[in-house]
Symmetry: C2
Subunit: 228 residues, 2 copies
DNA sequence: GCAAAAGTGTTCCTTTTACACCCATGC
DNA sequence: GCATGGGTGTAAAAGGAACACTTTTGC
């Protein structure tokens, strides 16, 4: 603590989004066990070790604090204001990640657990400048989903079309025309229609689809522009 | 050197773009005076001081190493691979900036100077992972200019329309239709036509314009979407 | 047979692209 | 008066938005 007092600390923080067709977009927060901001909710994260990559640090912290394993992870922004941590100087590289929430109900709502999902519309007060980070992440998610097919990271591997539509509606925050959206999306040629049907219990069952990842990357390489 | 050996160093690097209607897009590099990569060209940058913001560090380093003062500065990406610096762990927050090159001919091509403009099409081998940073910055510039009017940061305050067109052609790397481009741009309502004319020596002199910054921010606030 | 949700096609309008002629200036 | 570059408008094509009826299932 005395040696290296004048050296800046480097940390990572992660905004992990999950999606559930019934509850919408959520993100993972952990409850802080120590001061400052003891008992407040915060983003998972922590100091980067000397020899690990930033991405490795994020994965490690997520594993340690939430036992989540994310597939999709992208750097968001680096927050470096001198006063963002009241103890000492901590510069934090923020990442955002996406997971299929259906696979991780673990921390859902047990009061005893330290990690929980929060709907992005009902977040508690956050420690440090984490609200700012979350705001940036949500903005990025909105933008990103229009020109990269990241939505598939949030849905199950196989899904009825209506779920894709609903996901876009939730993230964009407005109703979309079912027919136009489907037309446009199918035209991209990155969805595979499956023989299976999916019934929600009521009404006509919908066709299941899955993302053709390979087709997408092939097309992307040829200069195809994704935009929805 | 022995104390804090296990703490990560934090630096900033800056990709400063300049534009000249005759020579195109350039960026500033400095020649390294010390190992590693002694005598190689590198981006201006250096370690962040304990109590300064990241932006302040960038401005300071630019002042010290190139005597440039940039108005437009934006965070680009943070590079943190453990091996990016052969000496020890240095995580670097990269920024990119824009300036009116016409105001800074200082370091233009004096062989004795340590800072120089290089056309982005003819860059020398760069130290560290700086080529990667530059690639990202160029990509960002191309993207950004289509949905934010950052071009005005590169042009003189008053400019004939043709220069705006040429700037976009250079950055996009392809010819644009003069009439369609002008129509689209003027429709945005963020350009002010000036009474002055500008002659290139030959042909009919062109009308001068200037960017209506206030009008732009007012419109932006009302939700207007800039896209060219 | 009725309620609920999925499937499908056409028209209209807006935006984008393509394109050609006249005008002001310097020499 | 001719070469050079700047200014302007229109028509065709493409893309996006709006919109209604039929089909399949559960009860």
């Amino acid at each position: 603590m005395s040696a290296g007092k004048n050296k800046i600390n480097l940390s990572v923080d992660a905004v992990v989004f999950g999606y559930d067709k019934d509850t919408g977009i959520s993100l993972t927060l952990i409850r802080r066990k120590n001061p400052p901001f003891k008992d407040a909710w915060a983003l998972p994260g922590g100091l980067v070790k000397y020899a690990e990559t930033l991405e490795a640090a994020v994965h490690r912290e997520l594993r340690e604090e939430t036992s989540l394993e994310v597939n999709y992870l992208e750097q968001l922004y680096t927050y470096g204001h001198p006063d963002r941590d009241p103890r000492n100087r901590v510069v934090s590289v923020a990442y955002y990640g996406l997971i299929r929430q259906s696979q991780f109900q673990l921390h859902a709502d047990s009061d005893a657990s330290e990690a929980r999902w929060f709907n992005i519309a009902q977040l508690p007060d956050l420690a440090f400048d984490h609200q700012k980070i979350v705001d940036t992440a949500i903005l990025r998610l909105k933008n990103k989903i229009t020109y990269e097919p990241i939505g598939f990271e949030l849905l199950d591997q196989k899904f009825p079309f209506i779920q894709l539509l609903t996901l876009y509606e939730v993230i964009r925050g407005k109703k979309l025309d079912r027919r136009n959206f489907k037309k446009k999306f199918l035209q991209l040629g990155i969805l595979e229609e499956l023989p299976e049907k999916h019934s929600s219990g009521k009404g006509r069952p919908g066709t299941m689809y899955q993302f053709k990842k390979k087709a997408y990357f092939d097309l992307k390489e040829k200069g195809m522009v994704f935009e929805v």
